[in-house]
Symmetry: C2
Subunit: 315 residues, 2 copies
Protein backbone atom coordinates (compact mmCIF):
# COMPACT_ATOMS: atom_id res chain seq x y z
CA UNK A 1 0.00 0.00 0.00
CA UNK A 2 1.26 3.47 -0.88
CA UNK A 3 1.84 6.32 1.48
CA UNK A 4 -1.26 8.21 2.49
CA UNK A 5 -1.66 11.97 2.88
CA UNK A 6 -4.43 13.94 4.50
CA UNK A 7 -4.66 17.37 2.85
CA UNK A 8 -6.41 20.26 4.63
CA UNK A 9 -7.20 23.18 2.32
CA UNK A 10 -7.77 26.67 3.69
CA UNK A 11 -10.92 28.56 2.81
CA UNK A 12 -9.00 30.94 0.55
CA UNK A 13 -8.10 28.01 -1.66
CA UNK A 14 -11.73 28.15 -2.84
CA UNK A 15 -12.83 31.77 -2.45
CA UNK A 16 -10.30 34.58 -2.12
CA UNK A 17 -11.24 37.37 0.32
CA UNK A 18 -11.61 40.02 -2.42
CA UNK A 19 -13.88 37.84 -4.55
CA UNK A 20 -17.67 37.78 -4.35
CA UNK A 21 -17.95 34.03 -4.78
CA UNK A 22 -19.37 33.37 -8.26
CA UNK A 23 -19.15 29.79 -9.48
CA UNK A 24 -16.57 30.86 -12.11
CA UNK A 25 -14.23 32.40 -9.52
CA UNK A 26 -14.54 29.41 -7.22
CA UNK A 27 -14.02 26.92 -10.02
CA UNK A 28 -10.85 28.76 -11.06
CA UNK A 29 -9.46 28.61 -7.51
CA UNK A 30 -10.46 24.99 -7.10
CA UNK A 31 -8.66 24.17 -10.36
CA UNK A 32 -5.42 25.60 -8.96
CA UNK A 33 -5.74 23.60 -5.75
CA UNK A 34 -6.64 20.43 -7.62
CA UNK A 35 -3.62 20.83 -9.91
CA UNK A 36 -1.37 20.49 -6.87
CA UNK A 37 -3.39 17.62 -5.46
CA UNK A 38 -3.37 15.74 -8.77
CA UNK A 39 0.41 16.12 -8.87
CA UNK A 40 0.67 14.54 -5.42
CA UNK A 41 -1.72 11.74 -6.46
CA UNK A 42 0.40 10.96 -9.52
CA UNK A 43 3.41 10.51 -7.25
CA UNK A 44 1.62 7.53 -5.76
CA UNK A 45 0.06 8.89 -2.60
CA UNK A 46 -3.40 7.86 -1.39
CA UNK A 47 -5.27 11.08 -0.83
CA UNK A 48 -7.95 12.33 1.55
CA UNK A 49 -8.93 15.99 1.32
CA UNK A 50 -10.71 18.32 3.69
CA UNK A 51 -11.44 22.02 3.14
CA UNK A 52 -12.75 25.17 4.78
CA UNK A 53 -16.23 26.56 4.02
CA UNK A 54 -16.39 29.90 5.84
CA UNK A 55 -17.10 32.15 2.82
CA UNK A 56 -19.64 29.72 1.35
CA UNK A 57 -21.54 29.33 4.62
CA UNK A 58 -21.43 33.11 5.04
CA UNK A 59 -23.06 33.61 1.65
CA UNK A 60 -25.72 30.98 2.35
CA UNK A 61 -26.46 32.61 5.71
CA UNK A 62 -27.05 35.96 4.01
CA UNK A 63 -29.37 34.29 1.49
CA UNK A 64 -31.33 32.51 4.23
CA UNK A 65 -31.90 35.82 5.93
CA UNK A 66 -32.88 37.81 2.86
CA UNK A 67 -35.61 35.35 1.91
CA UNK A 68 -36.78 34.55 5.45
CA UNK A 69 -40.28 35.91 4.85
CA UNK A 70 -40.80 33.48 1.93
CA UNK A 71 -38.68 30.43 2.72
CA UNK A 72 -37.85 29.04 6.17
CA UNK A 73 -34.14 29.66 6.85
CA UNK A 74 -32.13 26.48 7.39
CA UNK A 75 -29.95 26.50 10.52
CA UNK A 76 -26.16 26.78 10.39
CA UNK A 77 -25.69 23.02 10.77
CA UNK A 78 -27.63 22.42 7.53
CA UNK A 79 -25.78 25.19 5.69
CA UNK A 80 -22.57 23.33 6.55
CA UNK A 81 -23.99 20.16 4.99
CA UNK A 82 -24.95 22.13 1.88
CA UNK A 83 -21.43 23.47 1.45
CA UNK A 84 -20.02 19.94 1.68
CA UNK A 85 -22.14 19.15 -1.39
CA UNK A 86 -21.25 22.40 -3.13
CA UNK A 87 -17.48 22.42 -2.60
CA UNK A 88 -17.26 18.63 -2.86
CA UNK A 89 -18.88 18.80 -6.27
CA UNK A 90 -16.47 21.47 -7.52
CA UNK A 91 -13.38 19.61 -6.31
CA UNK A 92 -14.63 16.20 -7.34
CA UNK A 93 -15.30 17.34 -10.90
CA UNK A 94 -11.96 19.14 -11.18
CA UNK A 95 -9.93 16.25 -9.82
CA UNK A 96 -11.81 13.79 -11.98
CA UNK A 97 -11.05 15.90 -15.05
CA UNK A 98 -7.36 16.02 -14.12
CA UNK A 99 -7.02 12.36 -13.19
CA UNK A 100 -9.59 10.37 -15.17
CA UNK A 101 -6.90 9.05 -17.55
CA UNK A 102 -5.22 7.46 -14.57
CA UNK A 103 -8.44 5.74 -13.55
CA UNK A 104 -8.83 7.48 -10.22
CA UNK A 105 -12.23 7.54 -8.57
CA UNK A 106 -13.00 10.73 -6.66
CA UNK A 107 -15.90 10.90 -4.21
CA UNK A 108 -17.13 13.41 -1.64
CA UNK A 109 -18.47 11.85 1.55
CA UNK A 110 -20.91 13.92 3.58
CA UNK A 111 -19.32 13.86 7.04
CA UNK A 112 -20.57 14.40 10.58
CA UNK A 113 -18.12 15.14 13.39
CA UNK A 114 -18.90 14.32 17.01
CA UNK A 115 -18.43 17.02 19.64
CA UNK A 116 -19.14 17.06 23.38
CA UNK A 117 -22.30 18.93 24.36
CA UNK A 118 -20.40 19.89 27.52
CA UNK A 119 -17.51 21.37 25.55
CA UNK A 120 -16.72 24.66 27.35
CA UNK A 121 -17.13 26.55 24.07
CA UNK A 122 -20.91 25.99 24.16
CA UNK A 123 -21.06 28.19 27.26
CA UNK A 124 -18.69 30.78 25.82
CA UNK A 125 -19.00 30.90 22.02
CA UNK A 126 -16.57 33.14 20.15
CA UNK A 127 -16.44 32.03 16.50
CA UNK A 128 -18.06 34.72 14.29
CA UNK A 129 -20.32 33.46 11.47
CA UNK A 130 -22.63 34.95 8.88
CA UNK A 131 -23.55 38.56 8.11
CA UNK A 132 -23.09 41.72 10.14
CA UNK A 133 -26.21 43.23 11.73
CA UNK A 134 -27.46 46.60 12.85
CA UNK A 135 -28.37 46.77 16.54
CA UNK A 136 -32.13 46.36 16.05
CA UNK A 137 -31.76 43.23 13.90
CA UNK A 138 -29.22 41.84 16.36
CA UNK A 139 -31.73 42.30 19.18
CA UNK A 140 -34.47 40.58 17.22
CA UNK A 141 -32.31 37.54 16.36
CA UNK A 142 -31.08 37.31 19.91
CA UNK A 143 -34.62 37.10 21.30
CA UNK A 144 -36.24 35.10 18.45
CA UNK A 145 -33.53 32.52 17.88
CA UNK A 146 -31.55 32.68 21.10
CA UNK A 147 -28.36 33.46 19.21
CA UNK A 148 -25.31 34.93 20.90
CA UNK A 149 -24.57 38.17 19.09
CA UNK A 150 -21.64 40.39 19.93
CA UNK A 151 -20.26 43.74 18.84
CA UNK A 152 -17.38 43.12 16.44
CA UNK A 153 -17.01 46.34 14.44
CA UNK A 154 -17.17 49.36 16.75
CA UNK A 155 -17.21 52.00 14.00
CA UNK A 156 -19.89 50.80 11.62
CA UNK A 157 -23.67 50.93 11.31
CA UNK A 158 -23.65 47.13 11.19
CA UNK A 159 -21.52 46.36 14.23
CA UNK A 160 -23.05 43.09 15.38
CA UNK A 161 -22.34 39.52 14.44
CA UNK A 162 -23.42 36.08 15.57
CA UNK A 163 -20.83 33.97 17.39
CA UNK A 164 -21.09 30.19 17.73
CA UNK A 165 -19.09 27.59 19.66
CA UNK A 166 -16.01 26.02 18.12
CA UNK A 167 -15.88 22.76 20.05
CA UNK A 168 -13.07 20.20 19.94
CA UNK A 169 -13.74 17.34 17.47
CA UNK A 170 -13.92 13.99 19.28
CA UNK A 171 -14.45 11.64 16.37
CA UNK A 172 -15.48 11.38 12.72
CA UNK A 173 -18.85 9.57 12.54
CA UNK A 174 -18.10 8.30 9.04
CA UNK A 175 -14.38 7.78 9.75
CA UNK A 176 -14.42 4.00 9.34
CA UNK A 177 -16.36 4.25 6.09
CA UNK A 178 -14.01 6.91 4.73
CA UNK A 179 -11.04 4.70 5.55
CA UNK A 180 -12.62 1.84 3.58
CA UNK A 181 -13.12 4.19 0.65
CA UNK A 182 -9.47 5.26 0.63
CA UNK A 183 -8.35 1.65 1.14
CA UNK A 184 -10.25 0.70 -2.01
CA UNK A 185 -8.35 3.32 -4.02
CA UNK A 186 -10.60 6.36 -4.04
CA UNK A 187 -9.58 9.96 -3.51
CA UNK A 188 -12.02 11.08 -0.83
CA UNK A 189 -13.14 14.62 -0.04
CA UNK A 190 -14.52 14.59 3.50
CA UNK A 191 -15.29 16.57 6.64
CA UNK A 192 -15.64 19.82 4.67
CA UNK A 193 -15.83 22.96 6.79
CA UNK A 194 -14.56 20.95 9.78
CA UNK A 195 -17.49 18.55 9.40
CA UNK A 196 -21.16 18.81 10.35
CA UNK A 197 -21.07 19.17 14.14
CA UNK A 198 -23.21 16.63 16.01
CA UNK A 199 -23.62 15.78 19.67
CA UNK A 200 -24.83 12.54 21.19
CA UNK A 201 -28.11 13.56 22.86
CA UNK A 202 -29.81 12.22 26.00
CA UNK A 203 -31.15 9.24 24.05
CA UNK A 204 -27.72 8.47 22.69
CA UNK A 205 -28.74 9.69 19.22
CA UNK A 206 -26.74 11.98 16.96
CA UNK A 207 -28.14 15.48 16.73
CA UNK A 208 -26.81 18.45 14.75
CA UNK A 209 -25.74 21.61 16.55
CA UNK A 210 -25.01 25.13 15.34
CA UNK A 211 -21.25 25.30 15.77
CA UNK A 212 -18.10 25.48 13.67
CA UNK A 213 -15.36 22.92 14.14
CA UNK A 214 -11.84 24.00 13.22
CA UNK A 215 -11.13 22.25 9.94
CA UNK A 216 -7.46 21.56 10.73
CA UNK A 217 -8.38 19.95 14.05
CA UNK A 218 -11.10 17.82 12.41
CA UNK A 219 -8.70 17.04 9.56
CA UNK A 220 -6.16 15.79 12.07
CA UNK A 221 -8.71 13.44 13.66
CA UNK A 222 -9.67 12.17 10.21
CA UNK A 223 -5.98 11.75 9.35
CA UNK A 224 -5.68 9.35 12.31
CA UNK A 225 -8.86 7.49 11.28
CA UNK A 226 -7.67 6.87 7.74
CA UNK A 227 -4.15 5.96 8.84
CA UNK A 228 -2.46 8.83 7.03
CA UNK A 229 1.34 8.98 7.05
CA UNK A 230 1.42 12.69 6.29
CA UNK A 231 -0.81 15.59 7.34
CA UNK A 232 -0.48 18.47 4.85
CA UNK A 233 -2.06 21.74 5.96
CA UNK A 234 -2.34 24.31 3.18
CA UNK A 235 -2.78 27.96 4.09
CA UNK A 236 -1.88 31.48 2.88
CA UNK A 237 1.79 31.46 3.89
CA UNK A 238 4.66 29.27 2.71
CA UNK A 239 5.68 28.23 6.21
CA UNK A 240 5.32 28.83 9.93
CA UNK A 241 7.55 31.62 11.17
CA UNK A 242 9.54 32.51 14.25
CA UNK A 243 8.88 36.08 15.40
CA UNK A 244 6.07 36.32 12.86
CA UNK A 245 5.45 39.88 11.71
CA UNK A 246 8.55 41.23 13.45
CA UNK A 247 11.68 42.62 11.71
CA UNK A 248 13.63 39.41 12.36
CA UNK A 249 10.83 37.08 11.21
CA UNK A 250 12.29 33.84 9.83
CA UNK A 251 10.75 30.68 8.37
CA UNK A 252 10.85 27.34 10.18
CA UNK A 253 11.90 24.60 7.81
CA UNK A 254 11.72 21.74 10.25
CA UNK A 255 10.85 21.34 13.91
CA UNK A 256 10.34 18.46 16.30
CA UNK A 257 7.14 18.38 18.30
CA UNK A 258 9.03 19.43 21.44
CA UNK A 259 10.49 22.42 19.58
CA UNK A 260 7.03 23.17 18.21
CA UNK A 261 5.62 23.16 21.76
CA UNK A 262 8.37 25.46 22.97
CA UNK A 263 7.89 27.94 20.07
CA UNK A 264 4.17 27.82 20.76
CA UNK A 265 4.70 28.58 24.47
CA UNK A 266 6.98 31.45 23.48
CA UNK A 267 4.09 32.95 21.50
CA UNK A 268 5.46 32.59 17.98
CA UNK A 269 2.16 31.30 16.56
CA UNK A 270 -1.00 33.41 16.45
CA UNK A 271 -4.02 31.91 18.22
CA UNK A 272 -6.89 31.26 15.77
CA UNK A 273 -4.42 31.32 12.88
CA UNK A 274 -1.06 29.49 12.86
CA UNK A 275 -1.63 28.31 16.44
CA UNK A 276 -4.29 25.63 15.78
CA UNK A 277 -2.41 24.45 12.67
CA UNK A 278 0.77 23.82 14.66
CA UNK A 279 -1.32 22.15 17.38
CA UNK A 280 -2.90 19.83 14.80
CA UNK A 281 0.58 18.95 13.49
CA UNK A 282 1.86 18.20 17.00
CA UNK A 283 -1.13 15.98 17.78
CA UNK A 284 -0.81 14.12 14.49
CA UNK A 285 2.88 13.29 14.96
CA UNK A 286 2.36 12.51 18.63
CA UNK A 287 -0.31 9.96 17.64
CA UNK A 288 2.09 8.19 15.34
CA UNK A 289 1.95 10.18 12.10
CA UNK A 290 5.28 10.32 10.25
CA UNK A 291 5.28 14.03 9.57
CA UNK A 292 3.03 17.03 9.32
CA UNK A 293 3.60 19.92 6.93
CA UNK A 294 2.34 23.50 6.87
CA UNK A 295 2.73 25.39 3.61
CA UNK A 296 0.92 27.38 0.93
CA UNK A 297 -1.28 25.89 -1.76
CA UNK A 298 1.28 26.73 -4.45
CA UNK A 299 4.07 24.93 -2.60
CA UNK A 300 2.04 21.82 -1.75
CA UNK A 301 3.65 19.32 -4.13
CA UNK A 302 7.16 20.65 -3.40
CA UNK A 303 6.57 20.59 0.35
CA UNK A 304 5.63 16.91 0.15
CA UNK A 305 9.20 16.32 -1.06
CA UNK A 306 10.67 18.43 1.74
CA UNK A 307 11.59 21.29 -0.59
CA UNK A 308 9.26 23.87 0.94
CA UNK A 309 7.09 24.59 3.97
CA UNK A 310 7.45 23.76 7.64
CA UNK A 311 7.79 20.08 8.46
CA UNK A 312 6.96 18.81 11.94
CA UNK A 313 8.47 15.50 13.03
CA UNK A 314 8.71 13.49 16.24
CA UNK A 315 11.32 14.17 18.88
CA UNK B 1 -23.45 -11.67 -0.60
CA UNK B 2 -26.98 -10.59 0.31
CA UNK B 3 -29.62 -9.29 -2.03
CA UNK B 4 -29.26 -5.68 -3.01
CA UNK B 5 -32.00 -3.08 -3.36
CA UNK B 6 -31.89 0.36 -4.95
CA UNK B 7 -34.49 2.59 -3.26
CA UNK B 8 -35.74 5.74 -5.02
CA UNK B 9 -37.57 8.11 -2.67
CA UNK B 10 -40.02 10.69 -4.00
CA UNK B 11 -39.60 14.35 -3.09
CA UNK B 12 -42.65 14.23 -0.83
CA UNK B 13 -40.86 11.71 1.36
CA UNK B 14 -38.77 14.68 2.55
CA UNK B 15 -40.99 17.74 2.21
CA UNK B 16 -44.76 17.42 1.90
CA UNK B 17 -46.41 19.88 -0.49
CA UNK B 18 -48.29 21.74 2.25
CA UNK B 19 -45.19 22.22 4.38
CA UNK B 20 -42.86 25.22 4.19
CA UNK B 21 -39.69 23.19 4.59
CA UNK B 22 -38.30 23.88 8.04
CA UNK B 23 -35.57 21.53 9.24
CA UNK B 24 -37.96 20.09 11.86
CA UNK B 25 -40.61 19.18 9.28
CA UNK B 26 -38.07 17.65 6.95
CA UNK B 27 -36.38 15.69 9.73
CA UNK B 28 -39.75 14.26 10.77
CA UNK B 29 -40.50 13.10 7.22
CA UNK B 30 -37.01 11.71 6.77
CA UNK B 31 -37.42 9.76 10.03
CA UNK B 32 -40.52 8.04 8.61
CA UNK B 33 -38.74 7.12 5.39
CA UNK B 34 -35.67 5.92 7.24
CA UNK B 35 -37.82 3.73 9.51
CA UNK B 36 -38.91 1.75 6.47
CA UNK B 37 -35.40 1.64 5.03
CA UNK B 38 -33.91 0.47 8.33
CA UNK B 39 -36.50 -2.33 8.41
CA UNK B 40 -35.40 -3.46 4.95
CA UNK B 41 -31.74 -3.26 5.97
CA UNK B 42 -32.38 -5.44 9.01
CA UNK B 43 -33.85 -8.10 6.74
CA UNK B 44 -30.41 -8.46 5.21
CA UNK B 45 -30.57 -6.35 2.07
CA UNK B 46 -27.67 -4.22 0.87
CA UNK B 47 -29.10 -0.76 0.34
CA UNK B 48 -28.49 2.15 -2.01
CA UNK B 49 -30.81 5.15 -1.75
CA UNK B 50 -31.60 7.99 -4.08
CA UNK B 51 -34.09 10.79 -3.50
CA UNK B 52 -35.84 13.77 -5.07
CA UNK B 53 -34.81 17.36 -4.30
CA UNK B 54 -37.40 19.54 -6.09
CA UNK B 55 -38.74 21.43 -3.06
CA UNK B 56 -35.27 21.94 -1.59
CA UNK B 57 -33.82 23.27 -4.85
CA UNK B 58 -36.90 25.47 -5.23
CA UNK B 59 -36.30 27.05 -1.83
CA UNK B 60 -32.60 27.58 -2.56
CA UNK B 61 -33.47 29.19 -5.90
CA UNK B 62 -35.77 31.67 -4.16
CA UNK B 63 -33.04 32.47 -1.65
CA UNK B 64 -30.44 32.99 -4.39
CA UNK B 65 -32.74 35.47 -6.06
CA UNK B 66 -33.73 37.40 -2.98
CA UNK B 67 -30.11 38.09 -2.03
CA UNK B 68 -28.78 38.57 -5.56
CA UNK B 69 -27.74 42.19 -4.94
CA UNK B 70 -25.51 41.11 -2.04
CA UNK B 71 -24.34 37.59 -2.86
CA UNK B 72 -23.73 36.09 -6.33
CA UNK B 73 -26.47 33.53 -7.02
CA UNK B 74 -25.17 30.01 -7.62
CA UNK B 75 -26.51 28.30 -10.74
CA UNK B 76 -29.03 25.46 -10.63
CA UNK B 77 -26.32 22.82 -11.03
CA UNK B 78 -24.64 23.97 -7.80
CA UNK B 79 -27.97 24.16 -5.95
CA UNK B 80 -28.42 20.50 -6.84
CA UNK B 81 -25.04 19.69 -5.30
CA UNK B 82 -26.01 21.62 -2.17
CA UNK B 83 -29.22 19.61 -1.74
CA UNK B 84 -27.25 16.37 -2.00
CA UNK B 85 -25.32 17.55 1.06
CA UNK B 86 -28.45 18.79 2.82
CA UNK B 87 -30.73 15.79 2.27
CA UNK B 88 -27.86 13.34 2.50
CA UNK B 89 -27.00 14.70 5.92
CA UNK B 90 -30.57 14.37 7.18
CA UNK B 91 -30.97 10.79 5.94
CA UNK B 92 -27.49 9.73 6.95
CA UNK B 93 -27.97 10.92 10.51
CA UNK B 94 -31.42 9.34 10.80
CA UNK B 95 -30.34 5.99 9.41
CA UNK B 96 -27.25 5.98 11.54
CA UNK B 97 -29.38 6.63 14.64
CA UNK B 98 -31.70 3.77 13.69
CA UNK B 99 -28.98 1.29 12.73
CA UNK B 100 -25.85 2.11 14.71
CA UNK B 101 -26.40 -0.84 17.05
CA UNK B 102 -26.17 -3.13 14.05
CA UNK B 103 -22.84 -1.59 13.04
CA UNK B 104 -24.01 -0.19 9.72
CA UNK B 105 -22.03 2.57 8.08
CA UNK B 106 -24.12 5.14 6.21
CA UNK B 107 -22.51 7.56 3.76
CA UNK B 108 -23.78 10.09 1.24
CA UNK B 109 -21.73 10.24 -1.96
CA UNK B 110 -21.91 13.45 -3.97
CA UNK B 111 -22.85 12.18 -7.43
CA UNK B 112 -22.54 13.53 -10.98
CA UNK B 113 -24.63 12.05 -13.77
CA UNK B 114 -23.53 12.21 -17.39
CA UNK B 115 -25.97 13.48 -20.01
CA UNK B 116 -25.59 14.11 -23.74
CA UNK B 117 -25.17 17.77 -24.68
CA UNK B 118 -27.11 16.87 -27.85
CA UNK B 119 -30.02 15.44 -25.88
CA UNK B 120 -33.13 16.83 -27.64
CA UNK B 121 -34.36 18.25 -24.34
CA UNK B 122 -31.63 20.92 -24.42
CA UNK B 123 -33.31 22.41 -27.49
CA UNK B 124 -36.79 22.07 -26.04
CA UNK B 125 -36.68 22.35 -22.24
CA UNK B 126 -39.91 21.76 -20.36
CA UNK B 127 -39.11 20.95 -16.71
CA UNK B 128 -40.25 23.86 -14.48
CA UNK B 129 -37.87 24.86 -11.66
CA UNK B 130 -37.66 27.56 -9.02
CA UNK B 131 -39.95 30.48 -8.23
CA UNK B 132 -42.77 32.05 -10.25
CA UNK B 133 -42.07 35.45 -11.82
CA UNK B 134 -44.01 38.50 -12.90
CA UNK B 135 -43.59 39.37 -16.59
CA UNK B 136 -41.00 42.11 -16.08
CA UNK B 137 -38.73 39.90 -13.97
CA UNK B 138 -39.17 37.05 -16.45
CA UNK B 139 -38.03 39.36 -19.26
CA UNK B 140 -34.98 40.47 -17.27
CA UNK B 141 -33.87 36.91 -16.46
CA UNK B 142 -34.44 35.83 -20.04
CA UNK B 143 -32.14 38.51 -21.39
CA UNK B 144 -29.58 38.57 -18.55
CA UNK B 145 -29.16 34.85 -18.01
CA UNK B 146 -30.49 33.38 -21.24
CA UNK B 147 -33.05 31.32 -19.34
CA UNK B 148 -36.06 29.82 -21.06
CA UNK B 149 -39.09 31.16 -19.20
CA UNK B 150 -42.63 30.17 -20.05
CA UNK B 151 -46.13 31.10 -18.93
CA UNK B 152 -47.34 28.41 -16.55
CA UNK B 153 -50.14 30.03 -14.52
CA UNK B 154 -52.43 32.03 -16.78
CA UNK B 155 -54.51 33.62 -14.02
CA UNK B 156 -51.92 35.00 -11.64
CA UNK B 157 -49.74 38.09 -11.32
CA UNK B 158 -46.73 35.77 -11.24
CA UNK B 159 -47.42 33.64 -14.30
CA UNK B 160 -43.91 32.88 -15.48
CA UNK B 161 -41.49 30.17 -14.57
CA UNK B 162 -38.11 28.94 -15.73
CA UNK B 163 -38.00 25.62 -17.56
CA UNK B 164 -34.84 23.54 -17.94
CA UNK B 165 -33.97 20.40 -19.91
CA UNK B 166 -34.60 16.99 -18.40
CA UNK B 167 -32.08 14.92 -20.36
CA UNK B 168 -31.75 11.15 -20.30
CA UNK B 169 -29.05 9.91 -17.86
CA UNK B 170 -26.28 8.06 -19.70
CA UNK B 171 -24.07 7.05 -16.80
CA UNK B 172 -23.22 7.67 -13.15
CA UNK B 173 -19.76 9.25 -12.98
CA UNK B 174 -19.17 7.87 -9.48
CA UNK B 175 -21.01 4.60 -10.21
CA UNK B 176 -17.98 2.34 -9.84
CA UNK B 177 -16.99 4.01 -6.59
CA UNK B 178 -20.52 3.73 -5.22
CA UNK B 179 -20.54 0.03 -6.07
CA UNK B 180 -17.31 -0.45 -4.12
CA UNK B 181 -18.87 1.35 -1.17
CA UNK B 182 -21.92 -0.93 -1.15
CA UNK B 183 -19.73 -3.98 -1.70
CA UNK B 184 -17.81 -3.09 1.44
CA UNK B 185 -21.04 -3.03 3.47
CA UNK B 186 -22.09 0.60 3.54
CA UNK B 187 -25.58 1.96 3.03
CA UNK B 188 -25.02 4.62 0.37
CA UNK B 189 -27.16 7.67 -0.39
CA UNK B 190 -26.32 8.78 -3.91
CA UNK B 191 -27.45 10.62 -7.03
CA UNK B 192 -29.81 12.82 -5.03
CA UNK B 193 -32.21 14.89 -7.11
CA UNK B 194 -31.39 12.71 -10.12
CA UNK B 195 -27.71 13.56 -9.78
CA UNK B 196 -25.70 16.66 -10.68
CA UNK B 197 -26.05 16.85 -14.48
CA UNK B 198 -22.75 17.04 -16.36
CA UNK B 199 -21.85 16.88 -20.02
CA UNK B 200 -18.54 15.90 -21.57
CA UNK B 201 -17.39 19.16 -23.20
CA UNK B 202 -15.29 19.74 -26.35
CA UNK B 203 -12.11 18.99 -24.41
CA UNK B 204 -13.57 15.77 -23.07
CA UNK B 205 -13.90 17.29 -19.60
CA UNK B 206 -16.90 17.05 -17.32
CA UNK B 207 -18.86 20.28 -17.06
CA UNK B 208 -22.01 20.98 -15.05
CA UNK B 209 -25.20 22.06 -16.84
CA UNK B 210 -28.43 23.59 -15.59
CA UNK B 211 -30.85 20.71 -16.04
CA UNK B 212 -32.88 18.27 -13.95
CA UNK B 213 -32.50 14.56 -14.46
CA UNK B 214 -35.49 12.40 -13.56
CA UNK B 215 -34.49 10.74 -10.28
CA UNK B 216 -36.17 7.42 -11.10
CA UNK B 217 -34.34 7.20 -14.42
CA UNK B 218 -31.01 8.06 -12.80
CA UNK B 219 -31.82 5.66 -9.96
CA UNK B 220 -32.37 2.90 -12.52
CA UNK B 221 -28.95 3.52 -14.11
CA UNK B 222 -27.35 3.50 -10.67
CA UNK B 223 -29.24 0.28 -9.84
CA UNK B 224 -27.53 -1.37 -12.80
CA UNK B 225 -24.13 0.04 -11.80
CA UNK B 226 -24.33 -1.32 -8.26
CA UNK B 227 -25.74 -4.67 -9.38
CA UNK B 228 -29.04 -4.29 -7.53
CA UNK B 229 -31.46 -7.24 -7.57
CA UNK B 230 -34.46 -5.06 -6.78
CA UNK B 231 -35.42 -1.52 -7.79
CA UNK B 232 -37.88 -0.06 -5.27
CA UNK B 233 -39.55 3.18 -6.36
CA UNK B 234 -41.41 4.93 -3.54
CA UNK B 235 -44.04 7.50 -4.41
CA UNK B 236 -47.38 8.90 -3.18
CA UNK B 237 -49.60 5.98 -4.20
CA UNK B 238 -49.59 2.36 -3.05
CA UNK B 239 -49.38 0.93 -6.56
CA UNK B 240 -49.67 1.63 -10.28
CA UNK B 241 -53.27 1.56 -11.50
CA UNK B 242 -55.19 0.55 -14.57
CA UNK B 243 -57.62 3.25 -15.66
CA UNK B 244 -56.10 5.60 -13.11
CA UNK B 245 -58.55 8.25 -11.91
CA UNK B 246 -61.51 6.62 -13.65
CA UNK B 247 -64.48 4.96 -11.89
CA UNK B 248 -63.14 1.46 -12.61
CA UNK B 249 -59.56 2.27 -11.46
CA UNK B 250 -57.89 -0.88 -10.14
CA UNK B 251 -54.43 -1.58 -8.73
CA UNK B 252 -51.84 -3.66 -10.56
CA UNK B 253 -50.26 -6.19 -8.21
CA UNK B 254 -47.90 -7.75 -10.67
CA UNK B 255 -47.08 -7.28 -14.33
CA UNK B 256 -44.48 -8.59 -16.76
CA UNK B 257 -42.49 -6.07 -18.75
CA UNK B 258 -44.51 -6.91 -21.87
CA UNK B 259 -47.74 -6.30 -19.98
CA UNK B 260 -46.24 -3.08 -18.61
CA UNK B 261 -45.41 -1.94 -22.14
CA UNK B 262 -48.92 -2.72 -23.33
CA UNK B 263 -50.57 -0.87 -20.41
CA UNK B 264 -48.24 2.03 -21.10
CA UNK B 265 -49.18 2.12 -24.80
CA UNK B 266 -52.83 2.03 -23.78
CA UNK B 267 -52.28 5.22 -21.78
CA UNK B 268 -52.80 3.89 -18.26
CA UNK B 269 -49.76 5.71 -16.85
CA UNK B 270 -49.53 9.51 -16.71
CA UNK B 271 -46.51 11.04 -18.49
CA UNK B 272 -44.26 12.88 -16.03
CA UNK B 273 -45.77 10.93 -13.16
CA UNK B 274 -46.35 7.15 -13.15
CA UNK B 275 -45.10 6.91 -16.76
CA UNK B 276 -41.35 7.40 -16.11
CA UNK B 277 -41.53 5.16 -13.03
CA UNK B 278 -42.95 2.28 -15.04
CA UNK B 279 -40.37 2.96 -17.76
CA UNK B 280 -37.56 2.77 -15.20
CA UNK B 281 -38.97 -0.54 -13.93
CA UNK B 282 -39.16 -1.97 -17.44
CA UNK B 283 -35.58 -0.94 -18.23
CA UNK B 284 -34.27 -2.35 -14.95
CA UNK B 285 -35.86 -5.80 -15.45
CA UNK B 286 -34.92 -5.80 -19.13
CA UNK B 287 -31.27 -5.22 -18.15
CA UNK B 288 -31.33 -8.23 -15.86
CA UNK B 289 -32.79 -6.94 -12.61
CA UNK B 290 -34.91 -9.53 -10.77
CA UNK B 291 -37.88 -7.29 -10.07
CA UNK B 292 -38.89 -3.68 -9.76
CA UNK B 293 -41.52 -2.41 -7.36
CA UNK B 294 -43.61 0.75 -7.26
CA UNK B 295 -45.32 1.54 -3.98
CA UNK B 296 -45.80 4.17 -1.29
CA UNK B 297 -43.28 5.00 1.40
CA UNK B 298 -45.48 3.46 4.09
CA UNK B 299 -45.74 0.15 2.22
CA UNK B 300 -42.04 -0.11 1.34
CA UNK B 301 -41.03 -2.93 3.69
CA UNK B 302 -44.21 -4.90 2.96
CA UNK B 303 -43.83 -4.44 -0.78
CA UNK B 304 -40.32 -5.91 -0.61
CA UNK B 305 -42.00 -9.12 0.59
CA UNK B 306 -44.58 -8.98 -2.20
CA UNK B 307 -47.41 -8.02 0.17
CA UNK B 308 -48.06 -4.59 -1.35
CA UNK B 309 -47.34 -2.42 -4.36
CA UNK B 310 -46.92 -3.17 -8.04
CA UNK B 311 -44.18 -5.65 -8.89
CA UNK B 312 -42.69 -5.72 -12.39
CA UNK B 313 -40.99 -8.93 -13.51
CA UNK B 314 -39.54 -10.29 -16.74
CA UNK B 315 -41.72 -11.92 -19.35
Amino acid sequence: MGKRVMIALGGNAIKQPEESGTLEEQMRNVATACGQIAEIARRGYDIVITHGNGPQVGNLAIQQENAQDIVPPQPLVVLGAMTQGQIGYMMQQNLRNLLSDDGWEVVTAVTQVLVDSNDPDFADPHKPVGPFYAEEEAERLRSEKGWTIVKVRPNSDRQWRRVVPSPIPLGIIEGRAIRKMVDSGMIVIASGGGGIPVISNEDGKLEGVDAVIDKDRAGEVLAEDVGANVLLILTDVDSAKLDYGKPDERPIERMTISEARRFSDEGHFLPGSMGPKVEACIKFVEQGGERAIITSLEMAADAMEGRAGTTVVSG
